[in-house]
């Protein structure tokens, strides 16, 4: 739990592609469509790949916030059932 936002935060700093994406994907699949998830991912390769993959899977990134060497993304779970 992140104190500032009061939300679940998936901290994937230091986790490489595509493992970081798989963690997010599995978490989002357990959530209802429209629910939100905050994740922390590194700049560079993760920021190039993960957002594109999330869009392909039908999820939506609501906000992007730079925080030093990493980024905080707020993701809205899409309807991925079936």
């Amino acid at each position: 739990m992140d104190r500032a936002s009061g939300r679940d935060v998936l901290d994937l700093r230091g986790v490489l592609c595509p493992t970081n994406f798989v963690h997010i994907k599995l978490k989002l699949e357990d959530m209802a469509a429209g629910d939100t998830l905050e994740v922390l991912i590194d700049d560079g390769e993760p920021m190039r790949n993960v957002p594109k993959s999330l869009k392909q899977e039908g999820h939506r990134i609501l906000t992007v916030r730079p925080e030093g060497e990493h980024f905080r993304l707020l993701i809205e779970a899409g309807n991925v059932s079936g």
Binding site: M47, R48, K55, I61
Partner: protein, 331 residues
């Protein structure tokens, strides 16, 4: 010194002519290629026609059957996506051709002809794919397969995106998928993901909106694919054309000559380029050597401009597509 392999080949040809009368071999079909002489006496490699490397399971079973019946129970997967059956004796050519006809299949082209085109999976299932490489590759094969050039081989390839896995720069003609992005400013929320996604650093934020430098953008479409609010859109989609590439003993790096071609413009460029090569090529030179000899400008004036294509004109326009390396003694 007598070239023994040459006389050996002559002997083999004479033997083949004799045998062919007995076997009623269609020599024109044979010469159009597909049967490649091996080191071993009387043995040939049968090169199968696999445009874009797509082969049905039915045809694969047939290749397997032929390899077991007439070869040594093995196939070779070539660098240009073909399935080859090695160790087939020329006495079985007719039987092999008959077996292939049973699954509506045939051998590939060799010699001074348009070869079977190659292609990646393209947009059919590759997430990077921007265009239908497989569809256009199949149609180009249907239209131009085996067309004689009068000079040398002619290779065509299709890549679905600027990653260019199918090495369009090494082809006599290469076609690579591109998209031109355009921003719907009213939809953009300024998230900067497109700037992050762009490997070519062609986007930067100006007043909370991404601005594109087209002198850097190679048209990969990653900015469109990442945009969470679909503000970055595809303004145009088409093919970047390259001409004059080859590998081999003396490689040439192809020139980008025109951009955003439609499928119909691809056919038109292939036809006009083949006509130009037949007319202006000398001896056994590849089209790249002919272009180097007469000058790229002449090829562009003769072929590209009359088709009304969007030309890529200058070295400065081409520079963004590559990043240096060994220029073969030029620096």
């Amino acid at each position: 010194m007598v070239d023994s392999s040459e006389s050996g080949m002559e002997g083999l040809k004479a033997n083949l002519r004799k045998e062919s009368r007995r076997l009623k071999l269609n020599f024109d079909e044979l010469k159009s290629g597909g049967f490649i002489k091996q080191t071993q006496k009387d043995l040939f490699t049968v090169r199968l026609r696999c445009p874009g490397g797509s082969v049905t399971s039915e045809r694969l079973r047939k290749a397997s059957e032929i390899a077991e019946k007439y070869g040594r129970g093995e196939v070779h997967l070539t660098v240009r996506q073909s399935v080859e059956i090695p160790y087939v004796s020329y006495v079985h050519f007719d039987a092999v051709a008959e077996e292939l006809r049973a699954v509506n299949w045939s051998v590939a082209s060799c010699g001074a002809r348009v070869r079977v085109p190659t292609a990646c999976a393209g947009c059919s299932y590759n997430p990077n794919g921007l265009v239908d490489t497989q569809g256009l590759c199949a149609e180009v094969d249907r239209r131009y397969f085996g067309t004689p050039t009068g000079h040398h081989k002619f290779k065509i390839s299709f890549s679905g995106c600027p990653i260019d896995c199918f090495r369009t720069r090494d082809m006599d003609l290469g076609f690579q998928g591109v998209v031109e992005p355009a921003l719907a400013e009213d939809l953009c929320n300024g998230c900067t993901l497109c700037v992050k996604a762009c490997e070519d650093k062609s986007l930067r934020m100006v007043d909370d909106l991404p601005v594109r430098d087209k002198n850097r953008c190679v048209g990969c479409g990653d900015c469109v694919k990442v945009c969470p609010v679909d503000a970055m859109k595809v303004a145009r989609r088409g093919w970047l054309a390259r001409v004059g590439g080859r590998h081999g003993k003396h490689p040439l790096f192809a020139y980008e000559i025109a951009n955003y071609l439609t499928d119909d413009q691809v056919y038109a460029l292939i036809e006009a380029t083949l006509g130009w090569y037949q007319k202006h090529g000398e001896g056994r030179e590849r089209i790249g050597a002919a272009i180097v000899r007469v000058g790229l400008e002449k090829y562009v004036d003769d072929v590209v401009r009359p088709l009304g294509l969007e030309t890529v004109e200058t070295a400065a326009e081409r520079r963004k597509y590559w990043s240096g390396g060994n220029l073969y003694g030029q620096g």
